[in-house]
Structure formats: C-alpha cells, structure tokens
C-alpha cells in the first residue's frame, strides 16, 4: 500500500494515468511545474453544473468523516445565488494527519479540485480553511505559484482554522469565516442553502477536492477501478498506535482492516482492538474485526463507519477501558460549552468511565454510563455529544469482558488502574 509519508517516487516517473489504488500518492507533486508535468492543466468543464453529473457517476462521497454524496451538495449549492465554496482542512481530530499531509505533498491537486468545485457552482467567494502549520504554509506557497502562472480562475482566500476538535464542524467553519469564534451553531436551514452570511455554502474536505481534481481528468470509470461498487475510489488513512510505520497511507475502500494495518508496517505487538473512525469512532475487537472490509457495509456490524480514515491500533497490554476513558476526558474538554447536555453530560460520562477503568468495584457504573450516553445523544447543535457517546458505548461493548474483570478487581490488559 502506498504511503503518503514515506519517500516519494522519483520525479522522472510520470505515469500518464495514476495507478487506480495509488492515485493521490501517484499524482502528488510538490510544485506547480511538477504538477503540470504530471497532471496537466485544470480540466475546466466549461460552465456551472457540468461537473455534477461526473461526480454522481463516479459515486464520490465526502472524505471529511460524514461520507455524504458530493454531487448532492454540489447540486444544492449550485441552485443558489452567489455561492461560497470552502475547502476544509481544519482537521481538528488529533489522530488524523491526512489533510495536512495531503496539502503538504499534493497542494495543487487540492487547489485544482477547489477551482473545479468553484466553477461547478459558479462561486462568488472561495476559501481555504486550514489549520496553522506546514499545511497552511504549503498551501500559501502553492497559491503564490498559481497566481504567478495565472493557473486559477477563482481567487482563493486562506482563512486560518483555530485549533480545537470541533473547529472543522460545518457550522463552526461558517462562524469562523464570518469573523466569529469557530463554534457550531443552531442550523435553521441547511448550510448548502444558508451558510456564510446567509449564502449557499459548499464546505468540502480537502481530500474530497483532490479526488475531484483526478476524477475530472481521468473520468468516472477510472475512478471506480478502486474501491467497492457502493463506495468507489480510494481514501487516505491515518494509522497510529501499535504499528511499525505509523502514518498516512492511501487505500481502496473495502480493503480488510488487517491489510490496512499492514500498509502501516503491520502490528508491532499483538493487538486487542482497533479504534476506527477516530475519537468519535467505534472499536473493533482484533480477533473478529481485523477481517472486516474497511467500508460502510463492512464496518456496520461494529456500529463503526469509515469516517475520515483514522485508525488506532491498541496493543493487548494497554487497557481499552482506560484508553477510552482518556479519550472521553479529552472530548469532554473539547466541548464548545454551548449546549447544556454536552456541557454537563460529557464530563460526567468521562468521569464514570474513568472510575470503572481505575477499578472502582461498583456495578452501578455501567448502567450510569449507558444512561449518560442516552442523555447526550441527539441533544446538541452539533454531533460532538453523539460521537463521544458512540465511542464510549462501543468501548463498553467491545471491552465487555474487561468491564467484568474490572468490576471484580482485575484488568485483562494491565495492572488495574495503571493505564489511566
């Protein structure tokens, strides 16, 4: 499996068409001259709306986590007046590095996709919303090159995304672009209808845009050469934890989780479980879960989704309950502190889970966690409480044997309480 973080192939290798399973990696170019040689100019579609049919035939879905069909968003935004297009590289998830890596290694693919999306909806304003660091620096360098060469038709404004887990949430992005704190807000209407200053707004993850740039060049049939019929194409995964070569790799949807871990060097020690989809994701037990195809359908039995491709391998010697309690504590601290159930419920949930992880032998702790996950779900303006509840619920299920062990004063992974 090709790695995005490893050494890049020599510039002399210029495949006319990127390999179906290593497309983003294969087309990555650090500067505009290299990008031009490898991928050619932007394949303008000649007017608004032309891209939508192509994206629909390709079956491209959003790579930011929700997996929403891209063509639907394009269609909704294109029908409005003076739309705004935003490339989202806030990447607030601590265990994700793929957006920053992509912008560092292949900024021009992302920016070409942004131009094509802007053309497709006839955008009046175009933004790149990106967190501070190498990704922003790379994007600014790339935009300067493009200005010099007259590469773009739409002017792109770079807007720095504030740090924080939720600053990339769609309505938080809108708030930030309007000059307010990057906090989620109550949506009277959909963002595609009423986003930045009430205008129809397309917020698209940067990886999605890079796929658009390739799809427009090589077509929907090429796009579907990798992945599954329901989820075509490749995705970038950020693999961390107990693997030999943690980092960002590109893989086709449907690849078994085991093979995905192998793309990151394989497990460095026996694993007990894998967290799929990041801190808002769900656990898969290593024994039964490693054969699961990395796809919506393949991960469904564990209530997991592909999300933004974040995978964390948990070594058998680390307590899964303790690890989950730490994540829950972090997520409680990342609450925007706007919605009562989230402000109150997330710290309480993290606290009860921590007590369980530390070996408090109180059987009422498990129903207490379950009650709290029910109390926060669907009761906020964003999905932060829901995502946190999903991860915690899945921890109780997948580490059920360890829950029983903890309640009887032992831990299956480590000396009790040591992992917390």
């Amino acid at each position: 499996m090709p790695s995005m973080t490893g050494s890049r192939p020599a510039a002399a290798v210029q495949p006319p068409v990127p390999h179906p399973s290593a497309r983003l990696v294969g087309a990555a170019a650090g500067n505009l001259a290299e990008h031009r040689a490898r991928s050619g100019p932007i394949p303008w579609r000649g007017g608004p709306g032309q891209l939508v049919a192509l994206v629909e035939r390709a079956g491209l879905s959003g790579r930011g986590g929700a997996g929403f069909p891209t063509w639907r968003k394009l269609t909704a935004v294109a029908s409005g007046s003076r739309p705004v297009v935003v490339a989202n590289a806030a990447e607030g998830e601590p265990a994700s590095a793929k957006d920053a890596t992509l912008l560092t290694r292949a900024p021009h693919l992302v920016l070409d996709g942004l131009q094509l999306a802007a053309e497709a909806v006839d955008a009046a304003d175009v933004y790149l919303y990106v967190k501070a660091g190498p990704a922003e620096a790379s994007a600014r360098r790339a935009l300067a090159e493009r200005r010099r060469e007259g590469w773009d038709r739409y002017r792109v404004r770079v807007h720095q995304a504030p740090p924080g887990f939720i600053s990339g949430e769609e309505s938080a992005v809108i708030s930030s672009l309007e000059g307010r704190p990057a906090l989620p807000r109550f949506k009277e209407r959909l963002v595609v209808e009423s986003g930045v200053r009430g205008r129809p707004t397309l917020v698209q993850n940067v990886e999605t845009l890079a796929h658009v740039a390739l799809l427009a060049r090589y077509g929907h049939s090429w796009f579907r050469q990798a992945g599954t019929p329901a989820e075509p194409g490749t995705f970038l995964a950020t693999i961390s934890g107990a693997v030999h070569a943690p980092g960002v790799v590109e893989a086709p949807y449907g690849l078994p989780l085991r093979d995905l871990l192998d793309a990151a060097g394989g497990p460095s020690t026996p694993l007990s479980a894998v967290l799929v989809g990041g801190y808002h994701g769900a656990w898969l037990p290593a024994e039964a879960g490693l054969d699961a195809p990395y796809s919506r359908e393949g991960l469904a039995p564990w209530a997991a989704t592909p999300g933004a491709g974040v995978v964390i391998a948990l070594p058998a010697g680390t307590c899964g309950l303790g690890f989950s309690a730490r994540i829950a504590g972090y997520l409680a601290g990342q609450s925007a502190r706007q919605c009562g159930p989230c402000v109150n419920g997330l710290p309480a949930m993290a606290d009860v889970l921590t007590r369980l992880a530390r070996g408090r032998r109180d059987p009422s702790l498990v129903p207490a966690v379950q009650r709290l996950t029910g109390l926060v779900s669907r009761r906020g303006v964003c999905h932060h409480p829901d995502g946190t509840a999903r991860m915690v619920t899945s921890a109780l299920r997948v580490f059920e044997a360890d829950v029983r062990a903890h309640l009887s004063g032992t831990c299956l992974a480590a000396p009790i309480g040591k992992a917390v």
């Binding site: 989620p184 706007q338 009562g340 159930p341 109150n344 109390l375 669907r378 303006v381």
Partner: protein, 82 residues
C-alpha cells in the same frame, strides 16, 4: 412531500419541536407547558419523552406547542415541519 398517518389519508409533513441548545438555559417553561412531550433531564434541560432529538408534535398538542415556543424566555424553541 406527504406522509401517511396510517389512516390512508396523506398528510402534511410532521410537526416537530426543535431546541436551539446554544440558547436553552433550562428555564423549564416548555416542560411545564408540554408535559405530554417533554420531561426534565438531570440538569434541568428539556428532554423528549420519546427519546428523540426533535419530538413529533401530535395535532392535538400543536396549539400547546406553539404556546411553549412563545413562552420560552430564551427563544430557544422552534416548531418546524419535516
């Protein structure tokens, strides 16, 4: 768009109650005015009795729901069709 109520008659989309959680401070007016639909959570915030995020408002409670929307001192309650 229409949905069926099971009586065979097509109806308009369901009326639902939505809370703007960024505005709600748990003053409790809505819970008093709509006890059929809302309960209080451990922190004083309204909670739908059916466990949903935005509970459906039956026709016979629509007027009470409108009153609850108007009574919210934080203007945090909305009625919408979906």
């Amino acid at each position: 768009m229409t949905t069926s109520t099971g009586t065979g008659r097509p109806t308009r989309r369901a009326l639902r109650l939505r809370v703007d959680w960024t505005a709600c401070e748990g003053r409790g007016m809505c819970i008093e005015l709509l006890p059929e639909l809302l309960d209080t959570d451990p922190w004083g915030y309204p909670r739908a009795r059916d466990g949903s995020g935005d509970p459906e408002v039956p026709v016979q409670l629509a007027e009470h729901a409108r009153r609850a929307v108007d009574a919210c001192p934080r203007l945090a309650l909305r009625l919408h069709r979906s």
